[in-house]
């Protein structure tokens, strides 16, 4: 009955079909629905404005060009400016007027961060839809729709190569895939990414963008919190840098696990980062939210991230960090200092690959 999916290693540049994230996905797939995303009404208003005003004007300008497809334009949610899609893509989805950072799909995220010639890491197959979850719609169908729309099997994409010449594995979440939610496939993918980093002596850079746990997988999604932390710990114990780049939005069980345990935390300008969603806080606790609440800058002020960076400076910042945090030899267990059985109280470290050995 279970369909298992296997990802193949393939050269980058294969099919890549970025599609706009669905605002409603977020609320639907995440245990901690966070903040309001641009609503339908806004986009409908935009559409009519575009059709009624911009297109005729543009037509007049270019002298009677008949058909200007709507999909050439995007509106900046930050300042409302109309932006040429192609130009926006050239700027990695950052508005050149106000600097607003829009979502960046994981294919382009990997291309932005890794040097040319990187490869995708093949991620292990997992049991799909362990609970055969169904609300109005079957989870299996929602999953299939997301797979069709993105051309990917789940919300995590992992690439390996170099970053500014330093060996690096980059694992990026795709918010447009069921709200970037963490289920078994994402957890297993993070474990695979960590193993790849350890095997190739690379830094691990994770780029979360997620509403949290994928509730349609029930407790199978919650246990990805400890599982992803085991993954991160293996990288750290191997003496390799583990860096988190928090992007908009990162919430719930993702923030409360691997995303808050980096050696260094960078956050993209303006990114919303938190545990509980602002709506949850407002509705259950009825507290008013301070200005800038749960934004990258707020987290910086509260000591939770090391730096807020723009997308344009992200790669250079990471390259600089990787140059400074050179991998060290694996931390060897200091057991030689002790003879006989180790008492529980002894603060010894554990062989970094003990857990992965135990798996085989």
């Amino acid at each position: 009955m279970d369909v298992t999916l296997r990802r193949k290693t393939r050269q980058v540049g294969a099919e890549h079909n970025p599609s706009p994230p669905q605002a409603k996905d977020h609320a639907r797939f995440c245990a901690f629905p966070p903040w309001r995303v641009p609503r339908k009404t806004a986009s409908m208003a935009l559409m009519s404005w575009l059709t009624n005003l911009v297109r005729p004007k543009f037509r007049a300008l270019v002298g009677g060009a008949k058909d200007i497809p709507d999909n050439l334009w995007d509106k900046c949610p930050g300042c409302g400016a109309m932006l040429f899609k192609r130009e926006l893509e050239e700027h990695s989805n950052v508005c050149r007027h106000c600097g607003h950072h829009m979502p960046l799909d994981p294919v382009r995220r990997l291309a932005l961060l890794l040097d040319e010639g990187y490869t995708l890491v093949s991620l292990p197959a997992v049991t799909v839809d362990p609970l055969r979850f169904k609300d109005h719609k079957r989870y299996a169908d929602r999953l299939r729709d997301a797979q069709r729309r993105t051309g990917r099997h789940d919300a995590l994409l992992v690439g390996e190569g170099t970053l500014g010449g330093h060996p690096a594995v980059v694992a990026a979440l795709d918010f447009s895939f069921l709200g970037g939610s963490m289920g078994m496939a994402v957890g297993e993918g993070l474990v695979a990414a960590a193993e790849r980093a350890v095997a190739t002596r690379s830094a691990l850079i994770v780029v979360p963008s997620s509403g949290g746990a994928r509730m349609q997988e029930g407790m199978f999604s919650l246990i990805q919190m400890p599982r992803s932390i085991v993954a991160a710990t293996q990288v750290k114990e191997a003496g390799l840098p583990y860096i988190v780049v928090l992007t908009d939005p990162t919430t719930g069980g993702v923030t409360a696990s691997f995303a808050m345990l980096g050696d260094v935390h960078l956050a993209e300008k303006g990114a919303r980062i938190g545990f509980a969603g602002a709506r949850v806080i407002q509705s259950t606790i009825r507290e008013t939210l301070p200005p800038g609440f749960q934004r990258a800058e707020y987290l910086l002020e509260h000591g939770m991230v090391d730096a807020v960076v723009t997308r344009a400076e992200l790669k250079d910042s990471l390259a600089n960090l990787l140059g400074l945090l050179r991998p060290r030899p694996s931390r060897r267990p200091r057991l030689s200092l002790l003879s006989g059985p180790v008492p529980h109280g002894a603060r010894n470290s554990v062989s970094p690959d003990a857990a992965s050995r135990a798996r085989t």
Partner: protein, 317 residues
């Protein structure tokens, strides 16, 4: 005692028994016979009810106001208990009580999520919803346990971590993540028992153990059924459907290999016989700890990680 809707027929019989007992005093035998007959009937009904509780009914039982809480477990099971307070950074959080004590003679660190049993104590313990300082206190106590080679016993009973502005400002996510990390790296044994409600990240932050136990009618879920219903069904009235879909019962989670042991509850649930429910949990915790105490730290940590890495990889159909 608070009566759940599906328990009403039983409650009626039980009040009849009480009446008869009251009448009889040291009266004639026929009344005693009648009491015995009614008690048999109650027991038969309870067996029938409680052997096939729906997930939604289990949610009610798990949150029953008369169910024993962490403070009751500690008072009953832990001798020489010495409560310890504060995270040494910001403050004390009574949603998470902790301290040193002995379980069946074995010295240990106890962590207990406490929801309170009446309005006053619920407010005092913030309804069992810990803030960052609660999770940081837990980390502090786990490190203390490590220093003295003491096992950690965690009692899980929370609707979830506190969702509030101040909790966010002080790094709720980081506190939970670090607590999970501490559980996973702990060089001493850690066993957890979900005694009531295991609510999402706020629960797993302390329930990441070498052995995870669940009381027979406890629940453990990625999201509350109400929250899930309002998001996925867009109707919080569909909580019963959500409870069934989420697979949150001890029986489901044991079958999935996510928890290790189900601790049987007395007939009719822990709220009908708290003493016996608590004794069973105490015995199960000791039994779970025993083999772990004999393991060296390295093996222990490696086995704990391997356990979590293996979870969900096999046995699903």
């Amino acid at each position: 005692m608070h009566v759940l809707d599906f328990e009403k027929p039983v409650a009626e019989l039980e009040s009849k028994i009480d009446e008869l007992r009251h009448l009889s005093g040291d009266g004639p035998l026929p009344i005693a016979d009648e009491v015995g007959r009614l008690q048999d009937k109650v027991n038969r009904q309870l067996v029938a009810l409680y052997s096939k509780l729906t997930p939604a009914q289990k949610v009610q039982v798990a949150r029953h106001p008369d169910r024993p809480r962490s403070v009751d477990y500690i008072r009953t099971l832990i001798t020489d208990f010495f409560p310890l307070a504060g995270d040494r950074t910001f403050g004390e959080d009574l949603a998470l009580i902790g301290g040193l004590g002995r379980l069946h003679g074995q010295a240990c660190v106890v962590l207990g999520q406490e929801r309170g049993h009446d309005t006053e104590s619920r407010l005092k313990h913030n309804f069992g919803m810990a803030k960052p300082e609660g999770y940081r206190k837990a980390q502090r106590l786990m490190h203390l346990a490590e220093r003295f080679g003491l096992p950690v016993v965690a009692l899980i009973d929370t609707a979830g971590a506190f969702p509030g502005v101040e909790a966010e400002a002080r790094g709720q996510a980081e506190a939970i993540a670090r607590s999970l990390e501490t559980c996973l790296a702990l060089t001493v044994p850690i066993v957890a028992c979900v005694i009531g409600e295991g609510g999402s990240g706020g629960a797993i932050a302390l329930a990441t153990g070498d052995r995870v136990l669940m009381s027979e009618h406890a629940i453990y879920s990625v999201i509350s059924p109400e929250g899930c219903a309002s998001i996925l069904w867009r109707d919080s009235g569909k909580a019963a459907e959500a409870a069934s879909a989420l697979g949150l019962t001890a029986q489901d989670l044991n079958r999935f290999g996510i928890i290790d042991t189900i601790v049987p509850e007395p007939l009719g649930g822990a709220h009908r016989n708290p003493e016996s429910a608590m004794a069973a949990v105490g015995a199960a915790l000791s039994e779970a700890l025993e083999p772990l105490l004999a393991m060296d730290s390295r093996t222990l940590v490696a086995a704990r990680r391997a356990k979590y890495l293996a979870m969900g990889r096999k046995g699903l159909t």
